[in-house]
Symmetry: C2
DNA sequence: CAGTATCCCCAGTGATACTG
DNA sequence: CAGTATCACTGGGGATACTG
C-alpha cells in the first residue's frame, strides 16, 4: 500500500484533479505523501518514542519499560517504521547478551521543537479541554440523552 | 473509556507509581490525560479538519468534499470529538435546508501554530524521508530479503 | 536481551439506507 | 442538507510462544 517510496518525492500538488482545489496551505487529499508522513509522525507510539529518545539513546527493553502500555510487537513495529523513515538509528552491539541502542538521527532530532510544541500545547490546555468536555457531556445529559461519557 | 471527564484536570504526575520515573519532560504513562488528548489532536482526520477550519468556517458537506477520502461517518465522529473537546463550534441555522457551520473556537485556533509547524516540518523533510525509505528498502532487499515496500 | 512468528479479537472505518 | 442507524470488514494491536 505504501508504494510511494521511489515515486516522486515532490509535493503532490501536481496531480491533476477536476474540483476547484485552490492551494490553501497543504494538500488534504489522499495519496499525498505529506498525509502519509503526517500519519506516521503524529502516530501515538511514534510520538512517545521520539520524545523519549530525545533525552538520550535507549535500549529496546528500556523503551518498553518507559513507554507504558506499549506491547513488544508495537514497539518493534514503531521502531522499524521510524528507522525506515530515517528518524531513528538502530545500533547493534555484537556482544553476548545482545545490546541494541536506539537513537534519534539528526533528522529525527529536528522533530524536537515540533513535537515539543504539540506536547506543550496539550499540557497547557488540558484544563480547558477537560472543562469543555464536562460542559459538553453535561449539556448532552440535560438535553434528554442519558448516554454520558461517549 | 474516556471517563476522565470530571476527574482531576491537573497534570497526572501525581499518580503514585513505584518505578523510578523521573520527570523527564512529559508523562508517557497510560491513563495520563495528556496522552489521550494528544491522541485526539494528533488524529489523522482531526488534523485535517482543523487545518481546513483554520481558513474559514465550513459546512458539513464542504468539509466532506475538502477532506478527500473521509467517510460521512468519520467526519461526523471527528467533528463531535472536536466539538466535545471545545476545539470546534457547531452552529445550526434553523432554515429549511438545514445549514450547519463548523468553526474553530478560540481554543481550537491556538492549535494553529502547532499544527502548522507539524505540517511545515513534514513538507520540508518529505524528501529526506523518501530518501531514507528508499535507502532502507534497498538495503533490506540487498541483504537477502526480497520483501520490499513494507 | 532483542527480537520474530502466530493467533485472535475488537475498535475504527467504510458502505448503504433511512430520517428530520 | 445534515445527519443517525446498521452492517460488515479489515487490520491495528495485544497476548503468547519460540529463537538467535
Amino acid at each position: 500500500m505504501e508504494e510511494g517510496t521511489s515515486k516522486s518525492p515532490t509535493h503532490c500538488a501536481d496531480t491533476a484533479l477536476e474540483h476547484d482545489y485552490d492551494a490553501r496551505q497543504w494538500d488534504v487529499r489522499e495519496g499525498c505523501e505529506v498525509r502519509q508522513i503526517l500519519d506516521r509522525v503524529a502516530d501515538k507510539w511514534s510520538l512517545l518514542v521520539i520524545a523519549l529518545l530525545e533525552q538520550r539513546s535507549l535500549r529496546f527493553t528500556e523503551l518498553r519499560r518507559e513507554v507504558d502500555g506499549i506491547s513488544q510487537r508495537m514497539l518493534t513495529v514503531t521502531l522499524r517504521h521510524l528507522e525506515r523513515d530515517g528518524l531513528v538509528r538502530r545500533t547493534v552491539h555484537p556482544v553476548v547478551p545482545p545490546r541494541v541502542d536506539y537513537a534519534l538521527t539528526p533528522l529525527g532530532a529536528t522533530l524536537h521543537d515540533t513535537i515539543q510544541s504539540l506536547v506543550t500545547w496539550t499540557e497547557a490546555h488540558q484544563g480547558e479541554i477537560a472543562a469543555a468536555r464536562a460542559a459538553y457531556d453535561g449539556a448532552a445529559a440535560g438535553a434528554g440523552a442519558g448516554a454520558v461519557g461517549m
